[in-house]
């Protein structure tokens, strides 16, 4: 299977977009993956679910603005070059 670097970049952008569109109150809280449910006990080490929820929340917070820029660039490039 011949992967190219371009395919990797595309995959990364699509994955990050997919994580960024998960809405906090409309969706994540409804299925029990909200931010407040992730924080378990403080003494214990966080389990996998807590780490995953933490990761989703941090990706959403951090990548929101850069994704706007990257998506705009992608839209312009795809419009121009197909």
């Amino acid at each position: 299977m011949a992967f190219t670097l371009y395919a990797l970049i595309q995959t990364a952008i699509l994955f990050t977009n997919a994580i960024a569109v998960l809405h906090e109150e409309r969706f994540l809280s409804k299925i029990g993956w909200g931010a407040e449910q992730g924080i378990g006990g403080f003494g214990d080490e966080p389990g996998i679910k807590a780490q995953l929820l933490n990761l989703i929340r941090s990706v959403r917070t951090v990548m929101r603005v850069p994704l706007i820029a990257v998506n705009s660039v992608c839209i312009v490039l795809l419009l121009l070059f197909g």
Partner: protein
Amino acid sequence: MEYPNQSGSRQRKLQPNVRMRGTPVDPSDPSLLFDDTSAGGNKPEHGGVGKGPDVYPGQALLSDPMSNLAMAYGSSLASHGKEMMDKNLDRFIPISKLKYYFAVDTVYVGKKLGLLVFPYMHDNWEVSYQQDTPVAPRFDINAPDLYIPVMGFITYILVAGLALGTQNRFSPEILGIQASSALVWLIIEVLAVLLSLYLVTVNTDLTTIDLVAFSGYKYVGMIVGVIAGLLFGRMGYYLSLLWCCVSIFVFTIRTLRLKILSEAAAEGRLVRGAKNQLRMYLTMAIAAAQPIFMYWLTFHLVR
């Protein structure tokens, strides 16, 4: 210019037979690309960039004050640009950390290659430390390095080109496609390992570069498999690939066990508990991914 005087004044050990004495170039060593990372090594200083033109035979050019000024300005600009580039580059790619991974010598490479295909006799897998910093790979066979993975990657590309050429499927673009494909799989694997290490909250001192190094060791097995496949046909390919897969599996487990598992579990004592069990599964999953990648990246090369 008397060279013995200059070397004495710079307090550097005279290196006897390697330097070309007759050339009228700056006596500080321009051919050492890396700092000498051997213990107690002598650090050759960067000679001034502008010292070179002093030795030109055209003395008339230098007597002109304008050109002197221009030369001094140009040399200061060049050194300023160089240090600015160094500073900025160091922010993105930690150059000094990378140098540690390339501080290898022939004995280390030979022993490590032997260890990669036959890890069954080696007993002490711990990385030795020297006052909190890991010892350079030159002195410790268990330390990860980047030389073997980089060389292995390049050799894998060349061997893939050779294998495809013997089947008349070669074209120059194929080399680029193979290279980017293998690189992408490497990146995916390193990201997957990083993600799983984050999810399992392992407190380990494995850096990203260490993971790249460990993932790059499988190229050695792939090269052995493909070459055996070229020489002895499919049966040779399968047998040697099986051998290399098993040895990479054992090598990865034994190396990562000490880094990921807790102390007690790493010594072999059975420690019950969900956390250690999870970490053991993680180590085995990482080790099992290596043979899968090895087969995936080479099976289309051998017909």
